[in-house]
């Protein structure tokens, strides 16, 4: 199983404003560290440019990071044990304080590339129900489910009246096994 993570941040000023310049300048070096980090699997890119950010329809002021890692330790070491930590430390210079959860993790089968809607649904799920094995955080971490015979429905993620299509049914199958 691989660990998917999504986090959102609401900018205090437009992306091309002087207020955000310090953050935007960090995108290229920090993305380079992420992409070559041990245990990095995938991240959603906004384009080929070094400062392109994930494209979405949740408003111009929202930034989204969406990536997949081999383990909790791999993600932890990138987030907190590289220079990325310094951007977290300075986050109030660029982003609004959020009262609700802004970061979510969940397990996916290795090889699965998750869609952005899937990630946003997990965040909605965390916000609605608190941490569960289907949507959790570093602080309330859940280990991956143990493999069982055949396919297994692990989650039905639902969301209320938020933007986008946020209702889905996820079917997890394990390598070498046929889905039901």
């Amino acid at each position: 199983m691989h660990l998917a993570q999504l986090n959102v941040a609401r900018m205090l000023a437009p992306k091309d404003s002087p207020e955000l310049a310090g953050f935007i300048a960090g995108l290229e070096p920090v993305n380079a560290i992420s992409d070559s980090a041990p245990g990095f699997v995938w991240r959603l890119k906004g384009g080929d440019g070094p400062t392109d950010t994930v494209q979405h329809d949740h408003g111009d002021m929202l930034l989204i990071n969406f990536s997949v890692w081999e383990s909790r330790e791999a993600l932890w070491d990138f987030v907190y044990r590289t220079v990325h930590l310094d951007y977290l430390r300075r986050r109030r210079e660029w982003f609004e304080r959020m009262a609700e959860p802004y970061s979510v993790m969940w397990w996916i089968p290795a090889g699965h590339i998750p869609a952005l809607d899937e990630g946003m649904a997990r965040l909605e799920r965390l916000r609605a129900h608190g941490p569960t094995p289907d949507a959790f955080t570093f602080k309330d971490f859940h280990e991956p489910p143990l493999p069982e015979a055949g396919g297994r429905e692990v989650a039905t993620a639902e969301a209320g009246d938020g933007a986008g299509v946020l209702t889905e049914k996820l079917l997890v199958t394990y390598e070498g096994m046929e889905p039901e």
Binding site: Y80, R81, T82, V83, L85, D86, R89, R91, R97, K139
Partner: protein, 201 residues
């Protein structure tokens, strides 16, 4: 366990190294014989303060390379002894949560800096060593092998590392070191702060 000065010297030497330490090396560092060093090192392993393993220290392997040597390194297990019992950890977590709820990161960093500024030490190295950071030099940069706030830093990394940086900046001011800058520079298994000469990075 660490009251014996030889044992303490051996422990402090082993945990300050970035590599596994053999009996000969530890004995030389502590200025004692190999047999006495081995006795104390194994006592430290029994107590869980060090862990041991076997390694070919010559770099040679296979037939003819001889028996692997016993080597020692710091145990990852954390030991905290206070008599009578005290629990500062729980209180620190309560206060950290309060800082979050109040959005008081700036005030907390200001407080951390002031605590650092009140330190009494001859120089930066001494100030860091006294506080358990286990400083070492790497290419002109002072790095810190141990995070004194490790458990809290695992629970609340952003807050605790921010406070640690502010504390270290306060220490710099306390020892009158103006040529050196503290910055966030984390590595897995080490402290999040390093110190380098100004305009040198």
């Amino acid at each position: 366990m660490l009251r014996d000065p030889v044992r303490r010297a051996l422990y402090e030497y082993v945990v300050a190294q970035g590599h596994e330490v053999g009996r000969d090396e530890a004995a030389r560092a502590a200025g004692v014989g190999r047999t006495l060093a081995a006795f104390h090192l194994d006592k430290l392993v029994e107590a869980g303060l060090l862990v041991s393993g076997f390694r070919h220290l010559t770099g040679r392997t296979g037939p003819g390379s001889g028996r692997p040597a016993k080597v020692y390194r710091r145990s990852a297990v954390e030991h905290q002894v206070t008599v009578p019992p005290r629990d500062y950890r729980t209180l620190a977590l309560v206060l950290a949560e309060a800082v979050d709820v109040l959005g008081g990161e700036d005030a907390a960093q200001g407080a951390a800096r002031r605590v650092g500024e009140r330190a009494k030490a001859g120089d930066l190295r001494e100030a860091l060593t006294e506080r358990g950071y286990a400083p070492y030099d790497e290419g002109g940069v002072t790095r810190l092998r141990n995070c004194p706030f490790h458990v809290l830093a695992e629970e609340r990394p952003v807050l605790v590392c921010s406070l640690n940086l502010a504390l270290c900046q306060g220490l710099l001011a306390a020892v009158g070191e103006r040529e050196v800058t503290a910055r966030i520079d984390p590595r897995p298994g080490e402290c999040c702060v390093s110190f380098s000469k100004n305009n040198d990075h």
